[in-house]
Amino acid sequence: MTVDISSVALLEVQSGEFVEAALLDAIQEQQISDWDKLWAPALNEGLGRLTAALAPKSSWPQNLHWDWREKAAAMNGLLGNQGFSLVCDGVTQGLMAVDMVSHRCRLPEQQGKDLVYIEFLENAPWNRSELLFRPTKFRGVGTLLMVAAIQLSIEQGFKGRVGLHALPQSEEWYRQKCGMTDMGTDQRVQGLRYFEMTALQATAFIRKGDSR
């Protein structure tokens, strides 16, 4: 399988400069290795900072249990699943797994239509301010991965429609920054809130990014 690589830009927080990054339409062994050997120790470092700062457990990352090796293996070879990786400075900065076949739109104006469903989206620990990295390394990882999901949706004929269940700590980002519609809690998915993006919302999100 060939991997498509696009050139994108991330904001390096310390210098305030945009730096070149690579967006891959796959999660390869190198990404799993980065997650295992670089993300895990950084995550532990962040948890150490939270402990030292006496941060309440409620502010700790809610995706500590995510296992990208397992997720990549589950997607392997399935046409309905796709992984994405964002690489900068030779290191994986973000990962995303999407499903194109198992979910349907729920918003009344697009009910039953196909969409790209984001199963998991994660930023590298050193890019996450909630882990008390000061300053964080890169900004824009989540946005670029969301753009990749929208572009995939457009390529598949889904017109930019995207859906996901958000962890409580990410709800505000999907609601405010992404402009997705909050459809409330879903008891079938651990009581997580379900968010959906229409074609119009997708266009608005892309335009917002272009004007930055």
Binding site: D25, L78, G80, M100, V101, G157, K159
Partner: protein, 71 residues
């Protein structure tokens, strides 16, 4: 970031074409997109059945389940 594609000719009966066109209308998708989705779904079902999973349809209201026999 679109993958390279290959072209094929597909011969369908009138009934099959009618179903395809109906799905295109209902799903707001092109014929190619509908067939891609069908292939993905078929592959997913095959992979799950091969693992020993069963395929069910459940009535949302009555919770009654009907198993689809995949032999």
């Amino acid at each position: 970031m679109a993958a390279a594609k290959k072209t094929m000719t597909l011969n369908l009966t009138d009934a099959e074409m009618a179903v395809l066109e109906d799905l295109c209308e209902k799903k707001d998708l092109s014929k190619t997109s509908v067939l891609r989705q069908a292939l993905r779904l078929y592959q997913l079902v095959e992979a799950r059945v091969e693992k020993g999973d069963k395929l069910f349809f459940e009535d949302e209201k009555t919770k009654q389940k009907a198993e689809i026999m995949m032999l």
